[in-house]
Structures are given as C-alpha cells and as structure tokens.
Symmetry: C2
Subunit: 188 residues, 2 copies
C-alpha cells in the first residue's frame, strides 16, 4: 500500500480547490493501492520560503519547515490539485515545493487542474518543469477540467461526468505503478 | 547491463553535435552499467513525420519508421545531445520523438546541451515537457555547455575541463539507477 498525499494548491478566499480535492480524495480512497491524506496548503499555511540554507542540506531552522518535511517525506506519491493563474501555477504550490528537496525525490506526481478553456493545463505544464528538477516523475495521465464550475454545486460539491472519472482512474493506476518502481530507488 | 542510446539531434552542415556526442559516448563506454550506441539523426535521416496513424497504434507504413522503432524499442535509457535554436529544441529531435510512442515509455533520458550563455538549457527545458508526455523521466543531472566552442579543437575534438566530466559521471550514474527501476515497469 502506498502513501498518497493530495496537495491542494489554492489558498484564496472563495477557492474551489477543496471541493475538487475532496472528489479526487474519495476516488483515491476506493483504490486499494493507496492510503490517502489531503494536504491543504491553506491549513498548512507556509510563509514565503524563509530558510537560510538550501533544502538539500536539511538544516531546517523553522518548525513549519520541519513539519512540512515530515508530511512529504513519508509520502510515496502525490496528486497536486491546482488552478491556473495568469497561465501559470499559483505561488503557493511553487513555494511549498521549494521548501524541500530530498523529501520529493524519486516519487511520482499526478495533476488535477481546473480553469477556463485550457483546463489549467498551462499551470500543470510549468509545474512539470519544476518537479523533474526535484527528481519527481510528472505522469502524463492527468485530470484537466475546462469550465469546471459547471460540475460544482452547493449541495453535492464537485460532480463530474463519467469521462472525467475514467481519467482519474487511469491516473491513479499509473501513479501506483510508478510509486512501486520508484520506491526501490529510495531504498538503494 | 543497460542499453544506452546517445541521440545526436543536430543534422546541419558544420554541426558540432558529433564531436560532443563522441565525447559522451567514450565516457559512457567506460561505465560498466552500459552498452552504448550512437544514433546520429543525420545518418538516420527521418523525413518529417509521415505516418497516417497515431504511433500509439504501431501501425507503421514506412520502412524508416519500422527501423527507428526497432532502434528505440531495445533501448533502456537515452542521452540526447542537442543544440539550442531560437531558445528551443531543433525540429529534428522533436520529429524523431514524435514518430514513436510506446518505444519511449518508461525509460529515463539525460541531456547534453551546448550553446551560448545559457548552454542550451532552454532547449532542454522544452524537451523535458515533451518527453514526460511519452512517459520518459527527464533526469535533472545533465551536462550543459555554455560557450562550448572553447572546448573544441580540430585535432582532439571536444576536450572539456574536469567539472564537466564530473557532471557527465553524475548523469550516467543516475541514468543507470533510473534505468534499473523503470525496466521493472516495462515487464509488468
């Protein structure tokens, strides 16, 4: 069983990330390959990167960094749930990534993105460049939600159509496959 | 032992790719983890992509595609040796990548890039986005050569300083590590 962390990138008042995050969390929980946790960056509440040393050295000065390090270190795989701001990723997720280094290494990451016509894909495309520098594999199987508000309602949260649920299933299956292979690299 | 293919991306008359490719080939051959082959795109001489079906289906109509498929299919890892044209990758390497799909899956790729002040890194950064779509892991350990012509001479070819040789050693070690892990994914 793999430890899967779902990271909710948006933190602004009125954000839709938690509704979409809860949906992918429920789906992932049904997959027996995973033990699943949500990491909501609004709750984790990291400041802008404030460590004096490169994270590669793990000489963390702050409690918030040490806590974040523990949460990421014991993960085997990630799903980043992200919107797109100005055709790019929000600062919150870049900042959360930049705080650590070794803790991310040799782990796969999938993406659930949401936005207008591009479905948040430009945000994801930029994130892919960042995560490979941290030795994460950004898997191509993803969930991208153009005009996502049509699937949101106040009573039930995020209720997508069947094709989207299928994409999520493919992403989860591939994440498990990568998680198994890359776990062997962390032991060696 | 892993089958490592070194792909020389540039094909223009007067190109410097073969000199740099020969250098990394000689270094890789000394690494007992690898059996090494050079794939020079100028010799392979693919036309612009001309298959009617998506490569995922492997319904290849042309001999050049079938031959290229065999060369890539039996590789365990790649090094792409590439210049930077207009801050991006040359069409030749994008075209060679686009011809196939399954043959690239679950394999790591390292980069040796050369150029002016940026050392070809912008070309590599764009390639990273492409290769993850084909389920390749673009490893961050790379060789990037700014103002590379200073290391070229007519008698000895490409003769870099010690730090560059160390970077290449790191890249080869990581490529072997990824090749071992990802090989298990192709069997399953």
């Amino acid at each position: 069983m793999f430890n899967l962390k779902i990271i909710i990138a948006s933190t602004r008042p009125g954000r839709k990330g938690p509704a979409i995050g809860s949906w992918i969390y429920d789906l992932a929980k049904k997959n027996s390959a995973f033990e699943v946790t949500i990491l909501d960056l609004a709750i984790i509440n990291l400041p802008f990167f404030d460590e004096p040393h490169h994270p590669r050295l793990k000489k963390y000065q702050h409690e918030h960094t040490k806590n974040w390090s523990i949460l990421i270190d014991n993960a085997d795989a990630f799903i980043i749930v992200t919107p797109e701001y100005n055709y790019g990723y929000p600062a919150t997720i870049k900042n959360a990534l930049d705080f650590l280094y070794n803790e991310w290494n040799y782990k796969p990451v999938g993406f659930v993105s949401y936005g207008g016509i591009a479905g948040g894909t430009r945000s994801v495309q930029m994130l892919k460049q960042v995560v490979t520098c941290q030795k994460m594999m950004p898997i191509p199987e993803s969930v991208n939600l153009p005009f996502f508000t049509k699937y949101l309602n106040e009573q039930e949260g995020f209720v997508p159509e069947e094709g989207i649920i299928e994409s999520a299933g493919l992403m989860l299956a591939e994440l498990a496959k990568w998680a198994a292979a890359l776990k062997t690299m962390r032991k060696s």
